[in-house]
Assembly symmetry: C2
Homo-oligomer: 109 residues x 2
DNA sequence: TTTAGTACCTTGCAATATACAGTACTGAAT
DNA sequence: ATTCAGTACTGTATATTGCAAGGTACTAAA
């Protein structure tokens, strides 16, 4: 999968995936990996950055069968930022799809 | 518009927009600008790179009302690469939309 | 002659995904 | 007992690419 496509989108992904409930890093890696390849080394720095920017708060929790997990909770600002990104994403991907349709010419232009 | 979203996608855009007929740089800038913001300084280097990589061939043509235009013609390799990118894009945006749906929970998860 | 529009080019910067390397815990297989 | 796979998090160096901001140069209208 084209690595460039993911720029900015992974941010959107981790934000929306924590919207309905706290998630830990490794769990997010697995959830996103179901849809397309993602490197572990990408997610953790991203989560740290978003936390630093105030979009997440975190807490540790013990795990049976491994080291403790760091859970990420979306803050109020995080939720607002997520809404903004989702809205931008919708505008964006629809625009791209129009261009693709226009270019490939399935009779709709 | 989030600048990161466009990484790699502008490449896809200029390729598909030349699929049905040769286009010149400024024209591509205008076509893409109808859907979302794009900086002129982004498109020209991109077109040069894709030409260097063998995906475009070019020719100059006089214009009434301005300097000569540089037209870009999609090569056979360019078309193959475009097909690949379109396919990757489709997989990608559908994956992202599933994640967004999953996260925002409109009952479909 | 000055401005707006057309049309192209170039450089430096910022953002971010990846590769790669490392730490550390648990449990099953050798 | 030890090795390995899986879980879980951290950190750094690198490559790619979009943007800002500058520039050149042509035509036509104010």
């Amino acid at each position: 999968m084209n690595a460039q496509f993911k720029k900015g989108i992974l941010e959107l992904c981790v934000l929306v995936l924590t919207a309905k409930g706290d998630k830990y890093g490794y769990e997010l890696v697995q959830m996103i990996s179901e849809k397309f390849f993602i490197a572990e080394g990408t997610v953790y720095p991203l989560l740290r950055r978003l936390t630093k920017e105030g979009y997440f708060s975190t807490y540790l929790k013990e795990s049976s069968g491994g080291p403790p997990r760091k859970y990420y909770t979306l803050t109020v600002e995080g939720r607002a930022y997520m809404d903004e990104l989702v809205s931008e994403w919708n505008t964006f991907y629809e625009g791209v799809n129009l261009i693709v349709k226009e270019g490939l010419g399935d009779g709709a232009e």
